[in-house]
């Protein structure tokens, strides 16, 4: 076995991405979907770091994107959880398919 | 042999060299070295917790005109040994409706995060188990993983008081973590590195608590308050308010699992004191006054490790002193204090530090 290179990380990130995708499709619970989104974001960030390390010889831009992804993920999680909390107070459940809020 | 006590970095280097020769490869030497470090650290943690618990009880006693444990061994020094044997021998219970997997995982999470923090502490020159360039940031990050363990433990107990205690505890820790982090970050621009050994080395001319004008002292005060709260110690121990929430998040825990929470608590006290000693009081660096060479040589007689543990012991004593002096805060007072006073103060401190660094304003330069 040679030491892990770019392709290892890329394949791994693709797998992780697909697991996150599966989660988003199958989950009906809002918090569960949010967690799947976090997995996908992490897979993307991992790709950036892998390219930065193995392809571009440590170019700063590759290390910068995960930082921004993490920052945006923090903002996104805060807002999403606030919305989920407000929704929960109204509907007392978090099922996306239980009834259509926008219809009525 | 004698010089090894003073030059522990040389000791580590020689040990690595010897191990590399003996085992034949650098990798095997590293594995052996890490195993030794893990064993030493485990023994150290057990011993440390026992000593700290004994000292805590003695300090508590004498501050309240009592005497503390006296019976087991001379002046009760074997009391904590007996207590720990009792704790280990007890039956570990899991409540019937608890989520057993998470219930058992939570103390491990808390303990592991505290234990991992220990590996970054610079005990002596070159004596750090993991020495790498973002040590300070990493230790702050890992310390916050413990909150998850607390929340998980409270939730998995399936007991509403545990959940309440866990949420109070979690809210308190993540709030005060901000102030603690900001207080430390205000000092970071002065030494311009996040590696603990380099932080210590940058204090050769003087400790940062004096060298950084005002910022050091203010930062130290903020960090002491915030870290006391982070450790869930009185006067910020509402998470374990005995009269209202019994034991807080660890109400349902017994035996070894409870011992792990307990151990983690005392390791945390040691860790925050060690960070404080390293960042503000020069770590293992002996106290030096420039110009007074005789005095400096006298101070150099003590090995660095003694300096380190001496400083940490003083800071731990201060934390214990707080506990047995001050009354407990109410939960709303606690949050008001953090968000309305401590946070703005630490932000101001950070701004002052930035100004001081960019203007080159520090002493003994």
């Amino acid at each position: 076995m040679n030491s892990p290179g770019l392709e290892h990380y890329l394949i791994f990130a693709a797998l992780l991405f697909c697991i996150g995708l599966y989660g988003i499709v199958t989950r009906r619970n809002l918090i569960g979907m949010l967690m799947s989104v976090e997995i996908i974001l992490n897979a993307a960030a991992l790709n950036f770091v892998a390219f930065h390390r193995f392809k571009f010889g440590g170019d700063v831009a590759g290390a910068m994107f995960p930082l921004f992804i993490i920052a945006i993920a923090a903002a996104e999680a805060a807002v999403a959880l606030a919305i989920i909390l407000a929704l929960f107070r109204r509907k007392r459940n978090l099922d996306v398919l239980s009834d259509n809020l926008l219809k009525n | 042999m004698e010089s090894y006590i003073y030059r522990t970095d040389k000791l580590i280097l020689d040990l690595t060299e010897w191990l590399t020769e003996a085992t034949g490869s650098a990798f095997a030497a590293e594995v052996v070295k890490m195993s030794i470090a893990a064993a030493v650290l485990s023994a150290f943690v057990g011993l440390l917790a026992m000593i700290l618990i004994y000292i805590e009880r003695k300090v508590a006693g004498h501050m309240q005109q009592r005497v503390g444990p006296m019976r087991v061994g001379p002046h009760g020094i074997l009391q904590t040994v007996a207590d720990s044997i009792k704790l280990v021998a007890k039956e570990g219970l899991t409540p019937k409706n608890a989520d057993a997997f998470i219930f058992n995982l939570a103390p491990l999470l808390v303990f592991a995060s505290s234990f991992a923090c220990l590996s970054f502490i610079p005990f002596s020159p070159g004596m750090t188990i993991v020495s790498f360039n973002v040590g300070l940031l990493f230790i702050l990050g890992i310390a916050s993983v413990g909150v998850l363990g607390i929340l998980a433990g409270g939730w998995a107990s399936n007991n509403k008081w545990s959940v309440l205690g866990a949420m109070r505890s979690g809210a308190q820790i993540i709030s005060y973590e901000l102030s603690a982090t900001l207080a430390l970050l205000a000092i970071v621009p002065f030494f311009g590195t996040l590696d603990f050994q380099e932080i210590v080395l940058s204090q050769q001319k003087g400790w940062w608590i004096w060298r950084a004008p005002g910022v050091g002292l203010l930062g130290f005060l903020i960090y002491t308050i915030a870290s006391t709260a982070e450790c869930n110690r009185t006067p910020f121990d509402i998470a374990e308010g005995e009269s209202e929430l019994t034991g807080g998040f660890h109400t349902e825990y017994s035996a070894m699992k409870f011992a792990m929470f307990f151990l983690a608590e005392f390791i945390n006290i040691f860790i925050v004191s060690a960070i404080s000693a390293t960042v503000f009081f020069g770590g293992w660096m002996p106290f030096h006054i420039e110009g007074l060479d005789t005095l400096n040589r006298v101070f150099d007689l003590l090995p660095p490790i003694v300096w380190f543990f001496g400083k940490v012991a003083c800071l731990v004593f201060v934390v214990m002193w707080f506990r047995w002096t001050f009354p407990r805060l109410r939960v709303d007072q606690l949050m008001h204090f953090e968000w309305k006073y401590l946070m703005p103060l630490s932000l101001i401190n950070l701004a002052l530090a930035a100004i001081a660094v960019s203007a080159g304003l520090y002493f003994f330069n």
């Binding site: - | 004498h62 501050m63 006296m70």
Partner: protein, 195 residues
């Protein structure tokens, strides 16, 4: 500006508190804890400390002050006093035949002493009251009266018969018959058992 003054005042308060505790910490001579079994010979309890009850004797007549009125029995929340009385043929007054004290139920609250109108009860400081079995805790307080012997076999329904002492009872039983008057009445404690 007010906030700074307040903060400084608060800091001063905190520091003075810390100074106080450090003062205690630094002077071990101020310790007030007593190491109990070691200092047994020099141990002095405060006068008002209360550990268990005792009957008071009149110093002149050498008799107990108790007139077996039963107020203490009624005052006791835990039914720990059991009292039988008889009319003394000499003085034509009621006297306790057996004043049985169930220490195993007693809370040491002192309500019986407060209830007593005849200065017949008091709390003593005798605190080493550990026993090997609950039966040992049942005691007859007027044991100086010749008719109140130590036989506990006929004490209340709640007490299990003590087999060791049963052998001694017939001999003393006669003793009792001599002194007991004709009228005999037992004041039974009120039934307060939970339903």
């Amino acid at each position: 500006m007010n906030i700074f003054v307040k903060t400084l005042r608060g800091l001063k308060g905190l520091l003075s508190g810390m100074g106080l505790t450090f003062g205690y910490f630094a002077r071990p001579s101020k310790v007030i804890t007593q190491q109990y079994p070691e200092n047994r010979n020099t141990l002095k309890l405060p006068e008002r400390s209360q550990a268990r009850i005792d009957l008071i004797k009149n110093a002149e007549t050498g008799r107990y002050n108790c007139i077996a009125c039963g107020l203490c029995v009624k005052a006791c929340p835990n039914n720990s006093i059991e009292l039988t009385k008889f009319k003394d043929p000499e003085t034509k007054k009621f006297r306790p035949e057996k004043f049985v004290y169930h220490f195993e139920r007693c809370l040491v609250c002192g309500l019986c002493v407060e209830a007593c109108k005849f200065d017949a009860l008091r709390m003593t400081s005798e605190f080493e009251t550990a026993a090997w079995s609950p039966d040992d805790l049942v005691e007859i307080l007027n044991k100086d009266d010749p008719w109140a012997h130590d036989d506990k076999s006929d004490i209340g329904q709640q007490t299990a018969p003590d087999k060791n002492e049963q052998t001694a009872s017939p001999a003393r039983d006669t003793d009792r018959q001599e002194h007991t008057g004709a009228e005999e009445k037992t004041i039974q404690p009120k039934d307060r058992s939970p339903k």
